[in-house]
Subunit: 593 residues, 2 copies
């Protein structure tokens, strides 16, 4: 059975030595002293390791069941959900007036990683609720907020997001679900939604569905889509639960993974709904919280990778097989632990350097979101919007690959379900798909975000890298050579790719779009390169001070060197592919595939 230990020490290092959160001029950040965040992380880590992780296999093996319209979650989920609620974790970043703790995104992202790593399927029940509540908070009327938010912030009621229909996912303009206005100001919602995570279950008294639908007579396509609140049970004026609404779960999907989460076909049959936000502005309302939601999914890529990595390390230290080619390391035993073998180390270093770099990236992204929301910083908002598809697409693609590498360390034992490594890959796989498939992320990045506000945000990103190199270079040859030079080279590759798009994408947009996936990945590498340069700087400073855990800081430097030497150079390959243009990609008639 796998284990999971929350990386609290690493997060503390990132918050206080790298990001220096308590000194940042963002409302609420002054409270984030090391003792304070340490206490939160410790509690969250305990819940993750001791309560959620032990249920991860249970959830995978048992899955959810649907009988007579009732969905049952796996054994133990209900009890764990109550513990999560009792700890106040569901409302950690919501306003105090609705029962939350009003903590910044950077804190909720940190603890979110723990929960997701320990049990992704379980954590999704809370995650979807968070998304739905955020949309109500941003777009709801005062009455809607009072009615739903206290219950949802407490997770007494959970929430869902209903977008996809059988014939449309990415292209929601084709949606068929209808919402017909009623005399009482409500709407009658009819249609079928699929892939609805946490659509029906036994963890909460009520489920608040947010449903995209078209009001008949509205504009065609995506501009005629509105968002509705459709509760499973209608809510009486006094807040008590009334009649069952016309919404039901028609089927549970059999999936590759996240078996513990109920993925539902939801049938709306004249269900009573209330408009959330404005008519025909449903997509805008649904996507207000996009940056946070996609940051959260990118974080899942990191989380599964880290959980899988931790177990792969255990196995590599424990499994005796073969001998170190430079001399036995366990001469009294029948063989050496496989961690002595260079190719096993190569795979583990890939995972370690990814997970720690990705963690920094997520937390940096979270500080930008906080800056945007709490300090009204439009530049921060633009920068994080630019990086959102990178965070989502790059971290989930790479995160998945890392779970595959972790599984590979186990040999045949990784392929059988007994050891739990297969689950990490099967669960991680979904993050590449939902919340906008990664191809759509790449399209969003290259087709929209790059040029946004006249290209201002991507220029700001390049300046940020350039200034970091300038400000931190020249005083330490080893650091310059091992960290700054590779970062500079990678950033140059990324700029060259952007330049290629500018010069060739106007005449033929396919020249840009054929390179979108490569661009997203090279952007991700540059971001992780920047993170490692910052981490390296902080580790050097800490070592110079001579206090603290010297080995921890030395290990950070060594891991950063690995990333810089072995992973960051991938940007050159991506650039080569991008510069080969659209011709080879688009050459074939569809019939010749």
């Amino acid at each position: 059975m796998p284990r999971y230990i929350a990386p609290t020490k690493d997060i503390q290092f990132l918050l206080h030595d790298v990001l220096n959160v308590s000194e940042a001029e963002i409302p609420g950040y002054a409270d984030l002293e090391a003792d304070f965040t340490g206490a939160i992380l410790e509690e969250a880590g305990k819940l993750a390791s001791e309560v959620l992780q032990p249920l991860n296999t249970t959830g995978d093996v048992e899955g959810c069941t649907l009988e007579n319209g009732v969905v049952r979650t796996p054994t133990g989920f209900k009890d764990a959900f109550e513990q999560m609620k009792a700890g106040g974790w569901s409302g950690i970043d919501f306003p105090e007036e609705y029962g939350g703790q009003n903590l910044p995104q950077v804190v909720s992202s940190a603890v979110g990683e723990f929960f997701s790593a320990a049990n992704q399927a379980f954590t999704m029940y809370q995650g979807l609720t968070h998304g739905a509540a955020s949309a109500i908070l941003a777009h709801g009327s005062e009455d809607q907020k009072q009615t739903y938010l206290p219950k949802m912030v407490a997770c007494d009621w959970t929430g869902t997001m209903n977008l996809t229909e059988p014939h449309c996912g990415t292209d929601l303009g084709m949606m068929r679900t209808k919402a017909e206005p009623q005399d009482d100001g409500s709407y009658s919602v009819t249609g079928q939604k699929i892939f609805i995570s946490a659509g029906e279950h036994d963890l909460a008294d009520n489920i608040i569905h947010l449903v995209l639908a078209k009001i008949p007579g509205g504009p065609d396509g995506i501009k005629g889509v509105s968002l509705f609140i459709v509760p499973k049970f209608l809510v009486n004026e006094d807040g008590s639960l009334g009649a069952r609404n016309g919404v039901s779960c028609g089927k549970l999907e059999e999936k590759m993974g996240i078996h513990g989460n109920a993925t539902c076909v939801m049938n709306y049959d004249g269900a009573k709904g209330w408009l959330l936000g404005e008519e025909h502005k449903g997509m805008r309302a649904m996507f207000t919280m996009m940056n946070e939601a996609r940051l959260g999914v990118g974080m899942q890529g990191l989380a599964q990778a880290d959980a899988a990595y931790q177990n792969a390390v255990d196995y590599a230290k424990d499994r005796l097989q073969g001998r170190d080619v430079t001399g036995a390391k366990n001469p009294d035993g029948p063989a050496d632990p496989i961690i002595v073998h260079p190719d096993v180390r190569r795979a583990l270093m890939d995972q370690k350097s990814f997970a720690e770099g990705a963690r920094a990236f997520i937390l940096w992204g979270a500080t930008l979101i906080d800056k945007a929301h709490r300090a009204g910083d439009k530049d921060a908002d633009g920068l994080v919007s630019l990086m959102t598809p990178v965070i989502k697409g790059f971290l989930t693609d790479q995160g998945y690959d890392m779970t595959v590498k972790a599984q590979q360390i186990y040999g045949g034992h990784g392929y059988i379900e007994e050891w739990g490594m297969s689950q990490y890959t099967r669960d991680a796989r979904i993050a590449m798909i939902y919340e906008g498939a990664n191809g759509v992320q790449a399209l969003d990045l290259v087709g929209r975000k790059l040029a946004q506000d006249g290209g201002k945000h991507v220029m700001a990103f390049f300046d940020l890298v350039k200034n970091f190199i300038k400000e931190n270079g020249g005083s330490d040859d080893a650091y310059d050579k091992e960290f700054l030079e590779p970062l500079k080279a990678a950033s140059k590759d990324l700029q060259a790719a952007g330049m290629y798009f500018m010069q060739n994408g106007m005449s033929n947009p396919n020249n840009a779009l054929s390179g979108s996936n490569d661009f997203m990945h090279m952007f991700g590498h540059v971001c992780l390169g920047l993170m490692w340069a910052q981490i390296g700087k902080a580790a050097k400073a800490a070592l110079a001070e001579g206090t603290g855990d010297t080995e921890f800081f030395e290990t950070k430097l060594a891991t950063g060197r690995y990333y810089m030497a072995r992973q960051l150079p991938a940007t050159a390959l991506h650039l080569t592919r991008i510069q080969s243009g659209a011709d080879t990609v688009m050459a074939l008639d569809a019939a010749n595939f």
Copy 2:
């Protein structure tokens, strides 16, 4: 439900236009005229598409069951197995004296791809039998051959390979299974073997287990391992079945995929066995057929990739979502098929160019095996031995990645089991692990094969590439630029990597072994680059002739250009990683992971 159509046309093109098999001076090849191979491929394709493919999902969903020691295969497997036998497919490449058809490896590899693509779990029952029968053919006494081969060649009896034990897989020297000599010349075999594919089932009257075990008092470690024939039912002198032997299936493993194949824990409890080959030379006997076996697993990587690709193409042509950015392609419909989108094409071209290049690589490898076995060509044997870890490791790593890309085309529909795309990834995953995990393949390549016979074979490979470029360059600028120049650059990268190993591996072998995985992959890319250069040459020649299917040949050239422009340049990244050496890989103490 997925479909599968055997790529008979592509194989015919490779056999007759690229490899020119019927003109090759290899015994048996003169018979391989296009009509002859065409008829075989058509029949095999029919069996694959019509009988095996429809059972692929059944096998995945039902799996195998163990009750009271009896293993039942999924519904329909028994009937399909009889059809496979009736078609004579099980003995296609075995000598006629044992009931086979004595066809070359290049033909059995071609049809093997079809069967494996249609239903990998099913085809393994036959594949394991083939491996066991091959070992008996190579090392058995005349009596053993007469007793077992006719039945095994017909698949009336199936076979297994028993290597792994709970505590050892790669490092078989640690094995504990014992074989104690008995007075009658047999041995009493006791121990436990795990991960035994097709270890127990209901498809055949008898199962012939080949079991590695140690004869007490023999040498320590791997040099004290012998190979034994242990039948499930003892065989009487007249060939009829006698008493049940002391071997049983203790458990079926729950696995990520290949559910239709019974992966057994096999308990040997004083089972009667007979030495196969010489005492203490068990590993040598087991690995005689290594090149073929690993070629077969590499082929599985290709097979799953191609099957997944075929379905991804169907979906991409069918699924309407979004519009072609350069103008609607389906203006009367609600949206364009997603195959118009550059990033979807990019993913499909990755798959197509891999599958077709890999198919050529497999068939080329098979001709080398035929040359070695049928014409006693030692150079061919050396070359294919060098490339065997590349075929196995590169094609299964890449093949798996391609199934993931195929699944991604489906968006959320790829994650639910209903569409069958998850099965391709779950089934393809095992090929990276069994028959020597891919890390072990990379180690075999860099640690052993490169230097074999004084480096003669790798030099021969480089000469082969160099000569091809020399002989085919200079007459067609476009071909030179699009095919030969990229191949030359990639081959130069590969040579530089080999040079790095030579210069830095002596002082510290970790400098070589830290780059083993990258070297295996870059070697694979150069091989596929060579294949595409050959395919391109053949397609050009056919177009110049002006006969045949012009569109087919144009498509070949376009697909080759894609590989050359977008995939082959990966060699440069691998070289960069290799040249960064072992320091960053080996820096950490095990405790600091």
